[in-house]
């Protein structure tokens, strides 16, 4: 942390004047590939500004499908232009800022922990609005013009992802009949791809900042890509993100009808329900394989924590969800 304070202070002084001092620097989250820090900036004669530094640790390579922080900041700024609720980007770091691959954004007040959003009285006004607001936000994300995105943003449609996750699963040489059946079902029922849009790629509880009035900001854009807009709508319906409130298909907080009504009210298209179900099933399949990937990180000692190991045992939750979807069960 101390290595960050000096370059961050000089950057903030260049931006906000010589009296700017970095205070209350706190690690909010982070793993091997990136860290999020909160800090406050008391500026002479004004209320302190609450800011967030998102950065990759020095000498780390971008991991997996993460696009890197400079691109992430560009996409957040582009999404802000279409009215998507996102944190304001304050500064995208250059090499001579000495902070590595990083950007600084405004702090947004609110809550990301699903169990609190779905159960606490503080969010009782927010809950019935959230599915509609998520629909509006997704329509705005999907309306971002291709020209305002980084030129080399990856393109990945539904079947590209099925291919990639199938290859990962095959590489593990595990025999899991439900995943085999899901692969067969997904291949048989794949909808024709829609014209390519910006896709958030991880639009779910945990990455949605919610306050007492509803959706405050869409966070964590590191899996953004170009692809099929239905991917984002299917992903927020995956039962794993409903945290036990499975009768509310959208994130445990609302019905699909509200999500679609919000989406169309903000200029989005209408979709076939069965195609959204396909993307939801693709999402459950991907989540199941992600659980196995996290277990592999434990098994290969890349991350020896008990938590990593235990996530491996969540693959079976994806399996029951896939069976419920394939059989067309209620609340699937």
């Amino acid at each position: 942390m101390t290595a960050l304070i000096a370059p961050l202070t000089s950057l903030m002084q260049a931006r906000f004047g010589p009296s700017a001092e970095v205070a209350d620097m706190t690690r909010l989250s982070g793993g091997a590939s990136q860290e999020t820090w909160g800090f406050s900036l008391p500026v002479h004669g004004q209320a302190p500004r609450a800011l967030i530094l998102r950065r990759a640790p020095f000498q780390s390579a971008a991991k997996g499908e993460a696009i890197g922080l400079v691109k992430e900041a560009k996409i957040i700024a582009a999404a802000a232009q279409t009215g998507t609720p996102v944190p304001e980007i304050i500064h995208v770091c250059r090499p001579d800022d000495d902070l590595g691959d990083a950007f600084i954004m405004a702090h947004v007040d609110g809550q990301t922990i699903a169990r609190k959003i779905l159960r606490d009285a503080d969010y009782s006004r927010a809950r019935p609005r959230l599915a509609f607001q998520c629909g509006e936000a997704l329509a705005k994300i999907h309306a971002v013009a291709a020209e305002s995105l980084p030129a080399d943003l990856p393109v990945s449609h539904g079947l590209d992802q099925l291919d990639r996750y199938e290859a990962i699963y095959r590489g593990f040489e595990m025999d899991r009949p439900v995943f085999e059946l899901a692969l067969a079902w997904l291949r048989q029922n794949a909808p024709a791809p829609l014209p390519t849009t910006l896709v958030h790629g991880d639009f779910r509880n945990g990455n949605l900042m919610v306050n007492g009035e509803g959706l405050a900001a869409v966070l964590d854009w590191e899996l953004a890509h170009q692809g099929d807009p239905r991917e984002d709508l299917g992903w927020i319906c995956v039962n794993s993100w409903r945290f036990g409130v499975r009768e509310n298909r959208v994130g445990g907080f609302g019905p699909l009808e509200d999500l679609l009504a919000g989406y169309q009210s903000a200029g989005g298209h209408s979709f076939e329900p069965k195609d959204l179900t396909w993307f939801q099933a693709l999402g459950s399949f991907k989540w199941g394989i992600m659980c196995l990937i996290m277990y592999q990180a434990f098994a290969t000692k890349a991350d020896p924590s008990i938590e990593r190991a235990m996530i491996g045992r969540r693959a079976s939750e994806a399996e029951i969800d896939l069976l419920n979807l394939i059989e067309g069960r209620p609340y699937a």
Binding site: N239, G244, R314, E319, I320
Partner: protein, 120 residues
Amino acid sequence: MHEAPSSEELLGSVIGFLNHVAAPQLTGQAAFHARVAANALALVEREIAQRPAADARAQALYADLLQDQTSLLEALTKQVCVHIRSGELSCDNPALLAALREITSAQLAIDQPNYSGLMP
């Protein structure tokens, strides 16, 4: 052979220690990981109690599905995967769906018995 205390009693005692003694005295990530550790041991406890019957049932279901009463569970599971991949077993086969649902439900009863997807 002596089993006083039994494996179950020892596991229960360590789970109790982690949840009620260790976790409350720890903070931050360490407290979180103490609770995850207790959850991991509770899973092991369920696995010891339920795995033998679950495996026997899975073997019987796959043996009927494949008309193969001689192979063991590991080989049967591999064969079910091969048959699904080749299309010989497919999504419109009620016996396959029923077997996979029962086997997956038994696995979840060990992994995550309160998972919402298990509810009828």
